[in-house]
Assembly symmetry: C2
Homo-oligomer: 256 residues x 2
Amino acid sequence: MARLRGAQVHVGELTGEGKVPWGLLGDALHSVKPDLFFCVHVDTSTGTMVPVHEVLEFVRNASPYTLSVVDTVASAGNVPLHLEGLADYAFTASQKGLSAPAGLAPIALSARGFSHARPASWYGDLTRIWEFWERGKYHHTPAVSLIEALERATARVLEEGIPRREKRSREAYAFLREALRGDFDFPPEEVAAPTVAVLFPKREPPEAVLARLEASGFRVAPGIGPTAGKAVRVGLFGSQAEAVQDLAEVLLGVGA
Amino acid sequence: MARLRGAQVHVGELTGEGKVPWGLLGDALHSVKPDLFFCVHVDTSTGTMVPVHEVLEFVRNASPYTLSVVDTVASAGNVPLHLEGLADYAFTASQKGLSAPAGLAPIALSARGFSHARPASWYGDLTRIWEFWERGKYHHTPAVSLIEALERATARVLEEGIPRREKRSREAYAFLREALRGDFDFPPEEVAAPTVAVLFPKREPPEAVLARLEASGFRVAPGIGPTAGKAVRVGLFGSQAEAVQDLAEVLLGVGA
């Protein structure tokens, strides 16, 4: 997306064990002095979680004028997030950790981020969107039904509380890890995201597992990027964590 | 929107009576030779309808290499539209003539329009969207619930048929015109859009009418642009036309 807008992009990757390469990150910040730093909180392709608060603090210290953007798509609403003073722009998706219908992208923006916003298009014009939401100026007809659904879903998230939701995802993941140990490999426990379980089948191709899940009414994603053709990816957001026992049976092919 | 993307914009307006200024349009096409011609089908600010098929044919004859874009927001699903061979891009909104929830913008694109499409942003990249819809490549997570609702709403439109839907809107409008004659002015009958009745109150300010409608549970728009502060605007799309008798009573203040 950044290249599409003409940006020069420098990509840094986690180590093979899913750790942050702090030395390389520091060197890159000093040599490139980027206008914008982007990182994901949960990498859904590998099911690993980046220690995003430490990373953002590191970036802010090493390069104070760099704007930071963080993708919290597979984390917001399910794990703790304290981005004030650390990130300039964060976004998520309604259908993941917030357990609302798909179609909305809730965002958070710092005052500094807002002052740097330049419109790429009418619908990407944050100044107009701000005037629409805060001052009642007309900008677009919003997706009313989705916004109402998001409001209710968010109220449920706040009611349950992030700690309890995180615990629920972690327990579901721990259950899967234990139940599937003989048949699937997992990412290292210390970097695994509690919200996206990436499972590598040991004895059968991922397609066979996906077909079994599909036939049993489970909608589970195939591997993507580095895990394409190698894994299946199970979302353990909010209420989805409840189905984990039935899911484990289908994953193991019990009774099939 | 076009200026935001760096386009040089030449604006032509309808005459005071809502007619197309054919001579001026022809002159402008010959002198400017525009890359893109844009027109609305229904101008919702004044409640007038442009003879869009004639206009598009005129443009295609006068300037064959000009791409044509038509806004069918307040017409598609309620009045006949035959844009094949006439327009390169047309768009509408789910919540108007199609009577579906707000949040989607159905579009139609000619092969020529598609070949000229250049991405302004990731989400405005029609090539990627085409690959997503037609070839199953991943582009974004769609608003599933809105798409399902649109599918059902569109099926109802097709079941009823455009001629009957148009008749329903026209009859509702004719009823309003007759019932409100003493208290409201209307645009000239021959240019009035059947889907958006713009009413100019003769005896009271529009705010008073809007307050009465709001209090009776009707959601009606105020004037906008040239009719700001002068009119109220009533949508007569699809099933909304059914409430027209109750609406007329509130507009007239009967029983208030």
